[in-house]
């Protein structure tokens, strides 16, 4: 079959690019401040009312022992993330060998690589699509602060401008052991958290941010 250029079904690629550009510009304008670390606002709530039952403990244990990750490895740190899953450091010992292409089935987002403004709406979308409870590990210098590219014109200085980050793993890129240590830190944090947290009551900074992709949700 040949493509008939005059027919309507063929998209106008320039128009689609312009629409994408508008979303990026909107995102760029709306993310001036970085999101505070969840460690701060969850700890504050835990101090107020902490009730841990044995059921909570079981649920937390289940959650932390099978962290499934969403696929998000844009750049160099992806190499070390692959090495973490590869035989030498075997990530499946922690019940997390499964990488989910669909964010709906994932509960951990390991942001392995530089985030650019062009990519930022997509990452926010992945995060929004993940089911609660969800956690984020910022891997590498680019994930924490933009790293060597921070002064670049197309680079987001850290994932915490876009999404709240639970654990920061420094390094450029971090060794697989360093990442595994970060995952263990996250598991500790999950064990400490309330099993059924009512996140809507917490001062979630995400709710206050304008979401450029909210339009899509309504559809």
């Amino acid at each position: 079959m040949e493509i008939d250029e005059n027919k309507e079904y063929i998209y106008d690629s320039y128009q689609l690019d312009c629409d994408e550009g508008k979303i990026i510009e909107q995102m760029k304008a709306s993310t001036k401040k970085s999101i505070p670390d969840p460690a701060d606002w969850i700890d504050a709530d835990l101090k107020r009312n902490i009730v841990l039952t044995s059921l909570d403990w079981v649920i937390d244990w289940a959650r932390r022992s099978s962290l499934w990750t969403a696929i998000c490895y844009p750049a160099c740190c992806g190499m070390e993330w692959m090495a973490t899953l590869a035989p030498r450091f075997d990530g499946s010992r922690f019940g997390m060998e499964i990488m989910r292409a669909s964010p709906r089935q994932a509960d951990l987002l390991i942001t392995a690589g530089t985030l650019t403004w062009k990519m930022a709406p997509n990452v926010r979308r992945i995060y929004n699509q993940m089911a609660e409870p969800k956690w984020v590990i910022a891997m590498g210098a680019c994930g924490i602060s933009g790293g060597i590219f921070r002064s670049g014109y197309n680079v987001v200085p850290g994932y915490n401008k876009i999404i709240p980050v639970d654990v920061y793993v420094p390094g450029c890129p971090p060794r697989p052991e360093a990442l595994l240590y970060g995952i263990q830190q996250l598991q500790k944090k999950i064990g400490r958290a309330k099993a059924v947290p009512d996140l809507s009551e917490l001062p979630n900074p995400l709710n206050e941010l304008p979401n450029p992709l909210k339009k899509d949700k309504k559809k």
Binding site: D17, C18, G21, I24, E25, K118
Partner: protein, 147 residues
Amino acid sequence: MTTALSAKEIVSKLSAEFPDAVKEAGADSVLVKSASLPAVTEYLKTADGLKFDYINYITAIDYYDYFEVVYMMTSTEYNRSVTLKTRCETRNRPTVPSLAGIYQGADWQEREVYDLMGITFKGHPNMKRVFLWEGFDGHPLRKDWNK
């Protein structure tokens, strides 16, 4: 060995073919007028004894007074290479004829130059941004571009 073909040799061949195309010939590069660029490259690609059939790269440099567009071609048959240069003097909408019809490899590289340096290639089939998004303000590799 990929030696840059001595400019004398190529200038003598080019000036015989195109009397007023070559502006000046440096030690390892030839500066041609932008209007005659497609004809010159077509000749370089097909003529016997030259056969520059492989394009290495296309780039542009901002010298404030003018933009210099640099092309490097290699002849895989004779294993030598040549650097062609052309200039456009205006800062506002500079234009250079496109080579996308002659070398397919030029297609995306010209788009890249347009995206980052803001030089339009006349005759290119799909002249739009390749790395940055539509609506990005300015062309970042220009020396006077600021965030």
